[in-house]
């Protein structure tokens, strides 16, 4: 299966949904900082991999897919929920990259300048996630 970029899909999301994501993302990031401040870096660290905006994104996927099916005159609820479930399966594969990101930051942080570290570990996250996705597709 080929990976494609569909820029027109971005138009399906309304401006208030983007604003909601921004606000939600901002609040979660600020709260993560507060959690670390109150409970220390161990608990704060757990929340660096908290599925913060996942419920909002999954609900949006369901809504878009349902509307698409309903425009075609079909019942879309089941299809919408399946689409959100498929996205969640991809997220499960992506957590392998997330764990590798954490591992590399943990191990490299003492020796590496911060900008280089963040660029390198982000690239490692993307590469690991994509490789894991291809391996999963082949299974």
């Amino acid at each position: 299966m080929r990976v494609r970029i569909n820029f027109s899909a971005a138009k399906q999301t309304k401006w208030h949904q983007y604003a909601l994501r921004f606000a939600f993302g901002g609040v979660v990031t600020a709260l993560t900082g507060l959690v670390a401040k109150i409970f220390g870096p161990e608990i704060g660290g757990l929340f660096l991999a908290f599925p913060a905006i996942f419920p909002a994104s999954a609900t949006l996927i369901e809504k878009h897919e349902r509307k698409k099916k309903e425009r075609a005159g079909l019942a879309g609820i089941k299809r919408g929920r399946t689409a959100a479930g498929i996205d969640a399966a991809g997220a499960a594969v992506g957590t392998i990259g997330l764990a590798i990101f954490g591992l590399l930051v943990w191990k490299l942080l003492p020796f590496c300048p911060t900008p280089i570290l963040l660029v390198t570990t982000t690239a490692a996250w993307l590469a690991t996630s994509v490789l894991a996705w291809y391996a999963w597709r082949k299974l």
Partner: protein, 115 residues
Amino acid sequence: MEALLEILARFLIGGVVISLFALSGDILKPKTFAGLFSAAPSVALATLALTIVSKGKSYAAVEAHYMIIGAVAFFVYALCVSRLLIQHHLSTLAVSLGSLLVWFGVAFGIWSIVR
């Protein structure tokens, strides 16, 4: 005042970074590939640089160490959500919010064992 500015900086940077990763997920096909971006290290990227500046590298390294446990919990959470939605077609909002209890259970369960 300094603490308030840090919270504001985290809010703005977090909002931008998380929105960009979410947008990347929107425009990518197929859905399983787009799902990779739902597990992007967006919160970590938004906060780590600020944490390094304000608390130092050793503090941020501890956070990154325990982030691995959070990622394991995210894996179990995403599997639960996926199964419940694909096989049982339950409400997406209810499943994705309710399953956060799974994340908390796994993350704090492993944390209590390894700390």
